[in-house]
C-alpha cells in the first residue's frame, strides 16, 4: 500500500512536469502543491488509519486489468476524432480563447492571463469551486471530528516531547524554514496577478507550512497556534469574502462578480476585485486543508489512543 501511495506521489510530480512542458504554469503549480504534496500526505494518513496491508483480493485482478485496458483503448480511440494537438482550427482556439488571449490585458489589466480568466471571466465557476472545497471541509468535519478529551492531549504532549529530542536536526532546520514557507505563501497569494500563483496555490503552501509544524511539534501544538474554531471561521470567511465582492458589485449596479463597477476606473475595479476574491480563495483553501489535516490526524491518533498503542 505504501509503495502505491509513493508511486501516486511520483505520478503527481510527472504530471506537473508535463504541465510545465505544455506551458500551463498555473496548472503545474497547483498539481505540484496539491497533487504531489498534500494529497500524498492525506492518502498516507488514510492508510495509517485503515491499516497498511490490504485484505486478500476477492475479485480477479486479471478481469480488472482487462477492463482498464479496454476502457483506456476506447478513450484513446475517442481522441482520434479530436483535432490534432496544436492545430489552429481546433474548437478551443475558435471560441472564447482568442478573446481571452488578446483582450484580457485591456479589459482586466492583469498580466497573468490565467488569473484573469479564473477570477474574472470565469469568476462564477471559481466561486463554485471554492464552495465545493468549503463543503468538502464541512463533510470531513462532520465525518471525522472527534470530541477531544484533555487526557488525550496530555498523552500526546509526552510523545511530542520525545519527537523533539529525537529529531534535533529536523527541529532546527524546520524552525528556520517555517517563517519563509509561510511568507512564500503570502508572496504567491499576492503575486498571482503577475506570475503563476494565486489563492489556490497560496492556500496549499500555507497549509503545508502549518502541516510541517504539526508533524514536528505535534498536533496539539499546532492546534494551539491555529485553533480549530479559528480555522473553521476562516474557511467560512473566505467564501463570505468572495460572495460579498459579488454582492457589492451587484449593489453598485453591475451583475454578480462584475468588478468593473467596484472602482471609478474599470481596470482598477477589476484589480481590486481579483485581489479580494483571490484572498477569499486563499483563506478557504488554506483553512480547509488545515481542517482536513487536523481531522485526519486527530482521528488516527484518537483510534490509536483507544487501542492503547499510542506510539
Amino acid at each position: 500500500m505504501f509503495a502505491v501511495v509513493m508511486l501516486a506521489g511520483i505520478y503527481g510530480l510527472v504530471c506537473a512536469s508535463f504541465f510545465v512542458a505544455m506551458d500551463a504554469v498555473d496548472v503545474a503549480f497547483t498539481e505540484a502543491s496539491i497533487g504531489a504534496g498534500i494529497s500524498t500526505l492525506l492518502m498516507l494518513t488514510t492508510v495509517a488509519m485503515t491499516g497498511r496491508t490490504d485484505h486478500e483480493a476477492t475479485h480477479k485482478p486479471l478481469m480488472a486489468f482487462v477492463a482498464v485496458i479496454v476502457t483506456g483503448g476506447l478513450l484513446i480511440y475517442g481522441t482520434f476524432d479530436m483535432p490534432y494537438f496544436g492545430s489552429a482550427d481546433a474548437p478551443v482556439h475558435q471560441h472564447v480563447g482568442p478573446h481571452y488571449i488578446y483582450d484580457s490585458i485591456q479589459e482586466i489589466g492583469v498580466p497573468n492571463m490565467v488569473t484573469s480568466v479564473l477570477a474574472s471571466y470565469r469568476g462564477f465557476d471559481t466561486f463554485g469551486e471554492v464552495t465545493v472545497i468549503f463543503t468538502a471541509g464541512i463533510g470531513v468535519l462532520a465525518l471525522l471530528s472527534v470530541a477531544r478529551r484533555p487526557e488525550d492531549d496530555a498523552v500526546m504532549e509526552a510523545i511530542n516531547d520525545s519527537m523533539h529530542e529525537k529529531h534535533l536536526i529536523l527541529r532546527i532546520v524546520i524552525k528556520t524554514m517555517i517563517p519563509f514557507i509561510v511568507l512564500y505563501a503570502f508572496y504567491v497569494q499576492f503575486h498571482g496577478d503577475y506570475g503563476p500563483g494565486g489563492g489556490f496555490q497560496a492556500g496549499v503552501i500555507f497549509a503545508a507550512g502549518i502541516i510541517l509544524y504539526a508533524m514536528l511539534f505535534g498536533l496539539g501544538a499546532a492546534r494551539r497556534v491555529i485553533t480549530q474554531p479559528v480555522v473553521q471561521m476562516l474557511s467560512a470567511l473566505g467564501v463570505l469574502v468572495y460572495g460579498s465582492v459579488g454582492l457589492v458589485s451587484m449593489l453598485n449596479g453591475g451583475s454578480f462578480l462584475d468588478y468593473n463597477v467596484l472602482a471609478a476606473d474599470p481596470i482598477a475595479g477589476q484589480h481590486l476585485g481579483i485581489l479580494l476574491i483571490e484572498l477569499g480563495v486563499g483563506l478557504t483553501v488554506a483553512s480547509v486543508m488545515i481542517i482536513i489535516f487536523y481531522s485526519f490526524v486527530g482521528r488516527s491518533q484518537f483510534q490509536k489512543a483507544n487501542k492503547g498503542e499510542l506510539l
Partner: protein, 97 residues
C-alpha cells in the same frame, strides 16, 4: 547545452523511478522519491529556460518545499507504523582495526 542537461535529468528521473519500483526496502523507495523530487526541481528550472519563461522558477521553489514536507510526512507516518518494532538504536558496528 540546456537541452542536454534536461535530457540528463530526465534519464536520472527514470533511473530513480526504477529504484522506487524495485525497492527492495521502504526506505529505498522513499529515497528514490525524494531524489525524484529534487530532480523535478532541476527539471522545472531547466524547462523554464528552454521555454524562455524564467517565472517557472517560482514553481521550482514550491517543489523544493513541498518535496521536503512530503518526505518528512512520509517518514513521520512510517515511524508511526513501525512503532511496534521500535527498540533501542541499532548498535553501530565497531571499526575493525
Amino acid at each position: 547545452m540546456i537541452i542536454a542537461a534536461t535530457l540528463a535529468v530526465l534519464v536520472v528521473m527514470i533511473l530513480a523511478i526504477i529504484r522506487a519500483v524495485v525497492g527492495p526496502s521502504l526506505y529505498d523507495r522513499i529515497l528514490a522519491v525524494n531524489m525524484f523530487g529534487t530532480k523535478t526541481v532541476l527539471l522545472i528550472a531547466l524547462l523554464g529556460f528552454v521555454m524562455g519563461r524564467p517565472e517557472f522558477l517560482d514553481i521550482a521553489m514550491v517543489y523544493a518545499l513541498i518535496n521536503f514536507v512530503s518526505v518528512i510526512g512520509v517518514l513521520r507516518l512510517s515511524d508511526a507504523f513501525n512503532a511496534k518494532h521500535n527498540g533501542p538504536v541499532a548498535e553501530p558496528a565497531k571499526r575493525d582495526s
